[in-house]
Amino acid sequence: MNGPIELGWGQLAIAASLVCVNGLVSLWLHLGLGRRLLIASLRTCVQLILLGYVLVAVFEWRSALGVGAIAAGMVLLAARESVRRAGRSYAGIGRDSLLSLALVGGATTVMATAVIVGVEPWWEPRYLIPFLGMVLGNGLTGISLGLERCLRELDEGRVRVEFLLAQGATRWEASRDVAADAVRGGMVPILNSMTVVGLVTIPGMMTGQLLGGISPLTAARYQILIMFLIASATAAGVTAVVLLSLRALFDEEHRLRIERVRRVRGG
């Protein structure tokens, strides 16, 4: 098998006409989605084409510094995205999310390229960037769910937390249930997708490798690797961000400072 059939702009135009069907439905049912649909479609085109160009440049450039810069940019964007739509927030939430994503995403990805796959050099962008992208993309969902849950449970369950504090609990003892619940909440999507993968969905990366002409068994093994990376990174990332947020919301005398939780309008 050789590479995939080249896909031209004309063929994409046909695909775009499918999206127009959505637009018509929206007009017909007065869903008011037309504008958002248009913007989303345009964003998809622009972002992916830009990504294509950037990757072409990075793959040819083959500089560790360049890969590092791209990776840092990806982590920053993921961190911003993970806290953007939160219904509750606190000062430093972005920093905590960034710290967790950077540590966990970086460690997992480097582990995968350097140790598991054994790419030479370990920062080879053809491997590192897609791995990092998938780890971050799923990690940010987990982190955003975990944070959301953690802040909500603390806010709504503060009576119980304070009851335990008032009997001498440390902040970790008092918030143990909150933390467990938040980590569990953040892990739900990846656990779900690990359960149905291959049955209901064929993951994007495997699809891509199949189209690229790689043997289905190799593609399957890569997909398993990716799922494991995502699962471990999500677990570690959610745990890290939950612990960091708890540290921020209790003070050094182990008091719950619920006033530090800010409700975000529209959240």
Binding site: G157, E162, F163, L164, L165, A166, Q167, T170, E252
Partner: protein, 278 residues
């Protein structure tokens, strides 16, 4: 706005054993006064004369110097809300078995005073000590394991009373106190049974219990740990007279700061009283 300084004299009447019998034998005094700002802790200072004062401390048989070591003492505790001072310069000393009743209209800061003493809110001024050691030395969790707070209003919590009792008993600071204790801590179930709480209630969800049942179960969980001093925020507000009497009986000899609106209860349980103004 009225800023009033209260002084309390920790030198109190009879020792706990003498007090354990008739309540008629208990000494009851009101030691609240409008006074110029003073942060005196000394029990020998004569209280300012005039307002609502019981006999000065020096008139008491055990005084001038009550030699019982203080369990809980506070000096110069203040709290302001939105720039308005609720209370200022509060000083108090409680020896073993003393009960300080805190009274005052709604909004006077009774609950906030308890939150300051229980270190549930940052201490904005003043100093606290338990058994001769400062709150800073103890550190928040160790302090609260000794100066425990019963929250107001018997809130609905997740889970069951049985789970809560187990969680509290396994807290690191509580286990540490358990090791230091000579006598074994009583069981919350046995305590609450004396107050008429059915044993089955311990396995029911908090949300399915009545407010009176929740109040007894929560008090039992807290009292069973035998804290050095207990901060009680209207602990019998939802109880009938029989249960209230039983609770008051169980609390005899327990050092406490007790917020109550019930004048009769205040007279029954207090060894000294603090009036907070609105």
């Amino acid at each position: 706005m009225v800023l009033r300084t209260r002084r309390l004299w920790g030198a109190l009447g009879a020792p706990p054993d003498a007090r354990s019998g008739e309540s008629a034998g208990r000494e009851h005094r009101t030691a609240a006064a409008a006074a110029p700002v003073s942060h005196s802790l000394s029990p020998t200072v004569a209280p300012p004369t005039g307002i609502d004062l019981a006999p000065p401390v020096s008139a008491s048989p055990q005084t001038p110097a009550d030699r019982r070591p203080p369990v809980l003492s506070a000096r110069d505790v203040s709290r302001a809300v939105g720039g308005r001072a609720l209370f200022e310069g509060i000083a108090l000393t409680l020896a073993e078995g003393d009960v300080l009743v805190v009274r005052g209209p709604s909004g006077a800061g009774k609950t906030l005073l308890l939150r300051q003493l229980g270190l549930l809110d940052p201490l904005t001024s003043g100093e606290l000590a338990c058994d001769g050691r400062s709150a800073t030395d103890w550190g928040g969790p160790a302090w609260r394991a000794r100066i425990a707070t019963l929250p107001q209003g018997a809130p609905v919590l997740p889970g069951t009373p049985g789970e809560l009792a187990a969680r509290v008993a396994e807290l690191e600071n509580q286990r540490e106190r358990e090791r230091e204790r000579e006598r074994e801590a009583p069981s919350p179930r046995a305590l609450a049974a004396e107050w008429g709480l059915a044993d089955a209630a311990w396995e029911e969800l908090w949300s399915e219990l009545s407010v009176g049942e929740r109040q007894r179960a929560q008090l039992a969980v807290v009292l069973a740990r035998r804290p050095r001093a207990l901060l009680l925020d209207e602990p019998t507000s939802a109880l009938d007279p029989t249960a209230t009497a039983a609770v008051e009986h169980s609390l005899r000899g327990q050092t406490a700061v007790w917020v109550t609106h019930d004048r009769a209860q205040a007279e029954r349980v207090s060894t000294t009283t603090l009036e907070l103004g609105a």
